[in-house]
């Protein structure tokens, strides 16, 4: 009898857990931070693939699609179609903005014969903060080195940039009936700040 009562108690305990709504405690936010780091790694990989001229156009276009899929979906505001964009600030003070898809497509068609994009092991995610939309928001920062070379491998252009990406985190109950939940991380706008030209350019 005791065995059956314990079994019933355990079963009730599990059902209770399944229906509990996720709470944004410190542990949860730490999970978001870890997941953001992984998403940044994914984005860095896709950017390297997009720029790699040794790959086929098809493979690089696939990398563009994968990179774009990490970002928030387009949305409509006041009849305008909006998508995340990349804002590039140069040291000479010029600032330009393009939608992320265009930015990645432009990266595919840069004029250099060979492009090498590498990263530094210094990606940092700021503390997540709740926004008025109910989601949690943070900024991920990493450093990227870009080298554009001619056919002989001579450096034609080089720069080191700091990138700040707006990150939105959601905890969505995707399998509501089963009580399972999923963490979702989307990237928003990116700020690219040209920090220093590489000597030789």
């Amino acid at each position: 009898m005791l065995k059956y009562t314990s079994l019933l108690f355990l079963t009730m305990l599990c059902i209770g857990r399944l229906h509990a709504q996720p709470e944004m405690d410190r542990k949860r936010l730490a999970e978001f931070e870890k997941l953001t780091q992984q998403r940044v790694n994914d984005l860095q990989l896709y950017i390297s693939l997009i720029a790699d001229k040794s790959l086929s156009t098809e493979q690089r276009e696939q990398a563009v699609e994968l990179a774009v899929s990490l970002f928030e979906k387009d949305y409509m505001v006041n009849g305008k179609r909006r998508s995340p964009y990349v804002q590039i600030s140069r040291r000479n003070g010029t600032i330009s903005s393009v939608p992320v898809r265009i930015y990645f497509k432009n990266l595919m068609h840069v004029k250099f014969d060979k492009v090498e994009i590498t990263y530094y092991d210094a990606a940092v995610v700021s503390e997540f903060e709740k926004g008025t939309d109910g989601n949690y928001h943070a900024t991920a920062t990493y450093y990227q080195q870009f080298k554009g070379m001619d056919q002989k491998g001579n450096l034609v252009y080089g720069s080191r940039d700091r990138k700040d990406i707006r990150v939105t985190a959601q905890s969505a109950a995707v399998y509501a009936e089963a009580g399972k939940e999923d963490l979702k991380i989307f990237f928003g706008d990116i700020t690219v700040r040209d920090t220093v030209p590489i000597p030789g350019f």
Binding site: Q38, L45, D121
Partner: protein, 272 residues
Amino acid sequence: MTMNRLWLLVLCIPFSELAAQHAGPQTNIKTGVEKHPPERFMNGQIKHLGDFIDRFNEVVKAGTEGQAALRSLFNEDDLRFPAHGRMAQPYARQVDAFIEWAMTGKTLIPKRGVMRAVVGIKVSYEEVVDTLKVHLRKDYTSDSAAYWHITKVDNLLRIRDEVKKNRAKEASVQPSGLPPNASEVSFLPLLRGLDDYRSLAPFTPCLACRDTAWQKVESALQDGKLTIENVVSNRIYLTAGCWEMELSEFIREKENSGWLISDLFEKNNPVK
């Protein structure tokens, strides 16, 4: 099924939700990205405001041992600091007084303390480029959501003296689903919101803040005469006890970079 097997099944249920966590890359074209070890400036750079607050509180807790670390939170290239052949200016003495106060008083900066910003936005008014100065304050709602709201806009000299009251009244109704704008990086979400709504109103819940200068800018935005381009200057103000620190972002390749103290104001002694 025997009773023992049933027990096993029940014990497995709490772990079933772990399978829902999905974090890996969506495809495996190639694995791994080559990464360089971080350079010193990358670790030293104060990348986010939260990072600044953490560092400030850490050095204050450390007491006198943290004095040099607290000094490193100031922009070391400030010409008001004594250097070769340069005399110390009143600012340098004020910084010394602040450091002494911080070390002895051990006042920490709360993560959700008073934070305001003054942002210079490049705008185009009837095709002439100008800079609009916008004053913002970071507020928190009852459910702890953070957002920046406009408290004041400085008058643009060229802007015409036109205020369309009917439109300003319409704009006072806040649309639902405002874009989040808690990020301080170039205030991009705020810029996007201003452009989307062609109005300052959704970001100015304080009706008393809608003075004549605000209404002129609001009318010009609604008429399409004023277009928003990008943020050209960004100053954040944090309060610690009786002091207000002005933070500016210095993007440069040295350890003393990122969000640093660029000015100080003593509340009871506004004249420096």
